[in-house]
Symmetry: C2
Subunit: 303 residues, 2 copies
């Protein structure tokens, strides 16, 4: 999948200002909207993931995008495509998982159901922007602090265990199959912040989010690896640092907010003039350009 190449083709055809952030912000309607799909054998496998978990995770993936915008998630539509032999239990379990991920604040209001060869889930989520400030990846400014919410690397560790046919430690497997979006962190920032700010979810990895914010905003992010929250047990894995930095699907949030802005989460660095990401590990500084990060993600997780 030449995803980034395709996105630039799409931007060319549409010539739209909307394409770019986790969500499109429709100011005239006071909403943000996002739309993500999960495909069997691309994003999940039925031999290690329950149908309930597919429903749960599909919703969480989309709520995470809304949280990253600073809006309040409110409504979802769900399009489900199912192989011919699917039974009622499958549909029931999927929707039970989806409903569990919605909690009390979010409601599934529509969608459709069609046939297909493989299970295909497509969800559109709507969030409300009223009384909130919506984030933009372009709004990180020198002097801002970088705050992260959520542990990183756990989901990639869980996926590695599943691929090896293992089922322990269970917490990593659960992090992959039943991720929890950082809804409160996103909502809190959106409601309290007064200045422009950047926020993004770490669906494609922490470094992807940091690098994207750095490059879209035209700034340098100085990050201290030791401050990044991760589960210490991850250190048992070969290449664990890369899992923390480049592993996807933890659905954490990274925000660049004014230094004096008071919020939850862990401060992992600061914004400076310059470009890219400077990562300090054990006193040594590693500089990452946009291309370095893309190459690394491709090598480790997409090859």
């Amino acid at each position: 999948m030449k995803e980034k190449e395709f996105i630039s083709v799409i931007k060319n055809v549409l010539n739209s200002d909307y394409i770019g952030d986790d969500c499109a912000y429709l100011k005239d309607l006071g909403i943000v909207v996002t739309h993500d799909s999960l495909v069997e054998d691309v994003h999940f496998r039925l031999d290690y993931m329950s149908v309930w978990q597919i429903g749960f995770k599909s919703v969480m993936v989309n709520l995470s995008d809304i949280a990253a915008s600073g809006a309040e998630p409110k409504y979802l539509t769900v399009s489900l495509s199912l192989p011919p032999m699917t039974d009622n239990d499958f549909v029931e379990n999927f929707y039970q998982g989806a409903k569990a991920a919605c909690g009390n604040a979010v409601e599934i209001v529509g969608g459709d159901i069609t046939g297909s060869d493989k299970v295909f889930v497509s969800i559109c989520a709507i969030g409300v922007s009223k009384g909130r400030k919506i984030s933009s990846r372009k709004s990180a400014k020198p002097g801002y602090k970088i705050v992260v919410s959520g542990m990183h690397g756990s989901s990639a560790s869980g996926l590695k265990l599943l691929e090896q046919g293992k089922n322990q430690p269970e917490k990593f497997i659960k992090a992959h199959l039943e991720p929890r979006a950082q809804l409160n962190f996103g909502k809190e920032i959106g409601a309290k912040v007064e200045q422009d700010y950047a926020m993004m979810d770490t669906s494609d990895g922490l470094m992807d989010a940091l690098s994207t914010i750095a490059n879209e905003s035209g700034v340098l992010l100085e990050i201290d690896f030791d401050k990044i929250p991760y589960d210490k047990e991850i250190e048992q894995f070969a290449g664990w640092r890369d899992m923390v930095l480049f592993g996807g699907e933890d659905y954490g949030l990274v925000a660049a907010v004014p230094a004096d802005f008071d919020c939850n989460g862990t401060v992992i660095g600061h914004v400076k003039q310059g470009k890219g990401v400077d990562l300090a590990i054990n006193g040594e500084i590693f500089h990452y350009t946009k291309e370095d990060v893309e190459k690394k993600i491709f090598e480790h997780f997409k090859s």
Copy 2:
């Protein structure tokens, strides 16, 4: 696909008032929202449909749902899943077709792009309800007239020709591959009508829409077959009347509106007390229950 069975499972799990109409009406946000997917080898085949046409039709299918609600279509998100060998031209042609269907009034504002085995298109459309009255399938009342916009049977004829490897008459094939939603008819009714009314698109056939409105509203629809607009050349096909009545994907609109309401479209019948649909053909009356219509659709188009 046990679509109707699955929908009742979903309604049970969600216990939601929203599921039922072409669109969900989110009153607090002043919008309607709909979400439909098109799957390769289920809804279209790449050997007879161009990529431009897939983009065009996928958008029209969703705009038709918005038109059926009486709202004004405004924004779309598009999720596209593509096989590994897909090239940039495919993405460009798809989006050119999608953009052509949008015209000037509708904008694509987001979505995502992922890998898959087959081409999978999922579109979410948002319409604005401000200054309009939104339809409900439950709102047909005795004394109302039944108005239809758009020709019926052309799309089913086109599909039959394509399946036989034919490419004439081209107008039928085009009706199937590049349907035009009845956007003006839907917008006009939504803007002008003052009383509650029912409106539905004929994506699953004219009789499906009539029968659904009749049964959801708890009324009888008396329909005169001779008044239904269709292309006379369709009479060359065996079973042409069934194509007009039960053939899908013409994306016409059927509305039940007060008898004295002045609107475009063709009056094909009236609403009476009772249940189901009474269809007059050549002076003879045929009564259709909900089950009769479902059986007929299944026999002719889903077996």
